[in-house]
Amino acid sequence: MNVPDDLKYAESHEWIRVDGDTGIVGITDHAQNELTDIVYVDPPKVGASVTAGQPAAVVESVKAASDIYAPVDGEVIEVNDALGSEPALVNTAPYENGWLFKVRLANPSQLDALKSPDEYRAQIS
């Protein structure tokens, strides 16, 4: 499974790509592979506050609806509208066009609590 080196990871299989005071959030290659056949994505609302470890979005595969947890606290500033018509992007490009939402970090020190690529690789191995 692909685990890019430039991201931080949550134990619940989300990734965050940090750029200054914002971060882009998605689910990992491992998570999309486990879910398979993603058919619907319910993103958070732009402007909503999300809390680390709390559900922020829902990703639905054919077999189940799965909560996606915010890796950090913050305000949602953008969601990936492309997933509305093409939810399978989460399967085919989980780290690129299949991203879920962008958040303005409320507390950047929370990033330290997330896993490094090596720690996440160890978790899923």
Binding site: E34, T36, D37, V39, Y40, D42, V58, E60, S61, V62, K63, A65
Partner: protein, 364 residues
């Protein structure tokens, strides 16, 4: 009670093929191999094979077996000759569904009941509770395995594996010397042409391998669920329950109210007399929405009028489909309702059953 999930005799072969397993009715069963959508399409366009060894095989035999089963089961066994299978119900005294099953008539006085995995113990306890002289109940679920092979190419695969013709719909053949003693039935849970096989556990590996070699795609319970829901086939525990009757479920044609008596008959007659409290309907989403799933509230005029019993995004239709018990006044094709999905209300319509008509299905 054991809490460790059980495994079928094909568990290792299926894991080797990449099966992802879930607990279903106390069994560790493949939910999918590659993708539920791929497996679903394989059954609709070519052929898929499902391990259904978790299901129960209960033999009922003896000089009084026929009369006794006529009292225990809701459908009319007189219409099930030797060599045929019949969909029927085990009902409680309230007319509620304990289990739905297929009874295969092996001989005048010998019947095979194919029952749901999660209900084996309850069904057998119910049968034994009503035990009678001249009737033997023999639960062989632990010693038998079973496969369902379904799809337009099933007939070809049957010929290739067994060198004979596939049994016609709702009939079966008992093959004594073909890969061992195998019962092959023209039944299934997908709506497609196909067959189901019942045999001793020791034959499982060989028959599974032969069917894969002939070209069937291994399929899991995920596709089994999407396929059966497109056909509006009920799943016991979801769409059927001890508190709902087959009349409410729209399955009255499998209940022989004209039989002299059977367990639940009085309750069904009285329900028919007083009017059904609910009816199980097929619902299709009419606007873009998350896939409907079980236990979502169904709304009419903003008020809850029922809840979904099953729901899925139909791979064949590309639309959300569900079933729900609704008040009879709303149980009419074309009736508009809403389904509450995580607090948002999405438009749906009552549809005529089934949602999908397979191209390969033979007339019943």
């Amino acid at each position: 009670m054991t809490t460790e999930p059980r495994r079928t005799f094909l568990y290792d072969q299926q894991k080797a093929l990449g099966a992802r397993c879930i607990n279903f009715g106390g069994w560790d069963m493949p939910v999918q191999f590659t993708s539920i959508i791929d497996e679903h399409q394989a059954v609709r366009t070519t052929c898929g094979v499902f391990d259904i060894s978790h299901m129960g095989e209960v033999f009922v035999s003896g000089p009084r077996a026929f009369d006794w089963l006529q009292h225990i089961l809701a459908n009319d066994l007189a219409k099930c000759p030797v060599g045929a299978g019949q969909y029927t119900f085990l009902l409680n005294e309230r007319g509620g569904v304990i289990d739905d099953l297929i009874v295969y008539r092996m001989a005048d006085d010998n019947f095979l009941l194919l029952v749901n995995a999660a209900k084996i113990d309850e069904d057998v306890a119910w049968l034994l509770k009503h035990a009678s002289d001249g009737v033997t109940v023999d639960n062989r679920s632990d010693t038998m395995s079973a496969l369902a092979v379904q799809g337009p190419e099933a007939a070809r695969i049957f010929r290739e594996v067994f060198q004979t013709e596939m049994p016609a719909r709702n009939t079966f053949i008992a093959m004594e010397k073909c890969r061992g003693a195998v019962i092959a039935a023209g039944t299934g849970y997908t709506g497609e042409n196909g067959f189901e096989l019942f045999f001793a556990n020791s034959l499982a590996g060989d028959i599974w391998a032969a069917i894969l070699k002939a070209g069937a795609k291994p399929c899991g319970l995920g596709a089994r669920d999407t396929l059966r829901l497109e056909m509006c086939y009920p799943l016991n525990g979801s769409d059927l329950s001890p508190d709902r009757t087959p009349l409410e479920a729209g399955l009255g044609i499998f209940v022989a109210l004209d039989k002299p008596d059977f367990i639940g008959r009085a309750a069904l007659l009285s329900q028919k007399e007083s009017g059904l409290p609910t009816k199980l309907v097929a619902l299709r989403m009419t606007e873009k929405s998350p896939p409907p799933r079980a236990h979502y509230p169904v709304l009419f005029d903003g008020r809850p009028v029922g809840e979904t019993t099953s729901g899925v995004l139909s791979p064949s239709l590309g639309e959300g489909i569900a079933m729900a018990y609704l008040p009879p006044a709303l149980a009419k094709p074309g009736q508009a309702v809403h389904i509450d999905i995580r607090g948002r209300h999405f438009a749906a319509v009552v549809e005529k059953k089934p949602f999908y008509r397979p191209s390969s299905a033979r007339p019943a």
